[in-house]
């Protein structure tokens, strides 16, 4: 199947073919750090997506004004500004999530995906394409976070939509003894490693 629409292409590229999590292996730190629960993973993904879209837009708009020699510091300042905004928003409206994500919220600023897209895409392409690239990459990253978080939460906690007791759904009843390993850092590494292997097998199978 060949997609001729460049916007659609940019969009799907980030989700499947150049998925930042499973293909480009970018943004690993928050991916491992916040995926003990699906809710946290989703929150992180959306926050990063917001920054990604905003920074892609602004950088694409300013691409002809930024002198190439100092482009990286400029990108960083732009990204940092949006990250600060997101941090303030989260702190104000989602204090629980903000606490759960901890230092990984400010660390969005050094997320390689965002700077990478700014450098490789937004600084070269027109605004609308940068927008669809940002959305695609953002969805791809969020997808990665959610998939890993789902695996980890189901096996490691036996729930989905925890840790808030009100929203948490216990999948296997009260007698289930969760494999706590997956709630821990070590489990995050192992789960992601195995997941990557599986994705590689699937991608190879379907020749992507």
């Amino acid at each position: 199947m060949k997609v001729n629409n460049p916007y659609l292409q940019d969009l799907t590229q980030g989700i499947v073919k150049e998925n930042p999590t499973f293909r480009l292996l970018l943004g690993m730190c928050p991916l491992l750090g916040v995926t003990a629960y699906i809710v946290n993973g989703l929150g992180m993904g959306l926050a990063a997506t917001a920054v990604l879209i905003a920074s892609n837009l602004v950088i694409s708009m300013l691409r002809n004004f930024i002198p190439p020699q100092v482009r990286i510091p400029c990108f960083i300042v732009i990204i940092a500004t949006f990250v600060t905004i997101i941090e303030m928003v989260l702190q104000a409206f989602q204090p629980v999530l903000y606490e759960a994500l901890g230092v990984f919220v400010p660390l969005i600023v050094v997320n390689c995906i965002i700077l990478g897209r700014a450098e490789a895409f937004a600084s070269k392409k027109p605004v609308l394409r940068s927008l669809s690239d940002g959305i695609g990459m953002g969805i791809g990253f969020t997808l990665g976070l959610v998939i890993l978080a789902t695996v980890r939460e189901i096996i490691g906690q036996g729930t989905i939509f925890g840790p808030d007791p009100e929203s948490a759904i216990h999948l296997f009843g009260a007698n289930y003894e969760p494999m706590a390993l997956f709630a821990q850092p070590a489990g995050a590494f192992i789960a992601l490693g195995l997941l990557l292997g599986m994705v590689n097998v699937i991608f190879k199978r379907f020749n992507i």
Binding site: E177, P178, M179, A180, L181, F182, Q184, G187, L194, G197
Partner: protein
């Protein structure tokens, strides 16, 4: 002279030992036999069930992963299975044994390319995974006490806590008990006697080198004397206690000496043994965990490539 038959031509040497990977693994299994026997004598038939589940799982998982019919194949899976059972309590839930044994083979071994390529001791990877997942089943005071049906007279003297859990527990166990093994602990770790017999067999067959167990046990002994808290009047006995209680003997003789995951150089083996001893005692004395053998050996496994890299021996007449 006319020759019709085609000769085999190869590079020298033209003769080989009869030893093979399979025979080495069989020797390890033989060495583990006294340990397993002691476990059954001490903990009853449940120990046998645990071992059987573990071995069956490892062999089956390996055969499935490699798509092989020959379940025993080179025997390394059976060794991993038995060793994994040795580091479990006498009667853990069956699903815990299955998950742990399967993890040992998959995450501990096959992911790295199978036999010869694993970085970490598979049995200990399995143990670390179950300890971190279901710690409640593995540490603490809920272990079933040994039910020795040959050492019947000693039942009353046995506590249900592992001797390393604290000073009071330690003092409740005599060194003779630790030597014979009628105390609480993992299946394979309680009987120093059985472990020694297995170790001597492996040493006699040339499969282990004195440096790793020697370095390990020696370091634990010395550290025990120096920092062990001296709960015996004789400090040498305190050192001995640290050697015989818990998993040091099992670790030093069967786990740390795992060929694939330990250094190949002589100097490296000694460093490896001493490193294991240091980390074990660091965790035992200053850590929050009662036992550190698993972690110590895993950490040293990780450093093995570095050790090998920096301990290349001086060649004959070199330097």
């Amino acid at each position: 002279m006319k020759m019709d038959k085609k000769m085999v031509v190869s590079s020298s040497p033209h003769i080989r030992t009869t030893e093979s990977v399979q025979s080495v693994m069989t020797d390890v299994l033989i060495a583990l036999f006294p340990v397993a026997l002691m476990a059954v004598l001490l903990f009853g038939y449940k120990a046998l069930v645990t071992m059987a589940i573990s071995i069956a799982t490892t062999m089956l998982v390996e055969a499935l992963w490699l798509r092989k019919r020959d379940v025993f194949s080179d025997g390394s899976a059976a060794v991993t299975g038995l060793l994994f059972a040795m580091v479990l309590p006498p009667a853990p839930p069956w699903w815990l044994v299955v998950v742990g044994a399967a993890s040992a083979i998959i995450i501990g071994k096959q992911v790295f390319g199978g036999i010869g390529y694993n970085i970490f001791n598979p049995a200990l990877v399995g143990r670390a995974i179950v300890v971190m997942s279901w710690g409640g089943h593995l540490v603490g005071r809920i272990w079933s006490a040994p039910q020795p049906f040959i050492f019947g007279a000693d039942i009353s003297a046995v506590t249900t806590a592992t001797p390393l859990a604290g000073h009071e527990e330690a003092l409740a166990v005599s060194l003779t008990q630790l030597f014979i093994g009628n105390t609480a602990g993992c299946l394979g770790e309680t009987s120093a006697l059985a472990l020694l017999i297995g170790g001597i067999w492996l040493f006699y067959k040339g499969h282990i080198d004195w440096r790793i167990p020697g370095g390990y046990i020696g370091t634990v002994f010395v550290m025990g004397i120096l920092f062990g808290g001296g709960f015996y009047d004789n400090h040498l006995l305190t050192g001995l206690f640290y050697v015989m209680a818990g998993g040091v003997m099992l670790g030093a003789i069967f786990m740390a000496t795992d060929m694939v995951t330990s250094p190949i150089t002589h100097k490296g083996k000694l460093i490896f043994g001493i490193g294991c001893g240091l980390i074990t005692m660091l965790i035992r004395i200053w850590g929050t965990m009662p036992e550190g053998v698993t972690f110590a050996i895993l950490i040293m496994n990780a450093i093995t490539p570095i050790i090998d890299r920096f301990t290349v021996p001086q060649q004959f007449g070199g330097g």
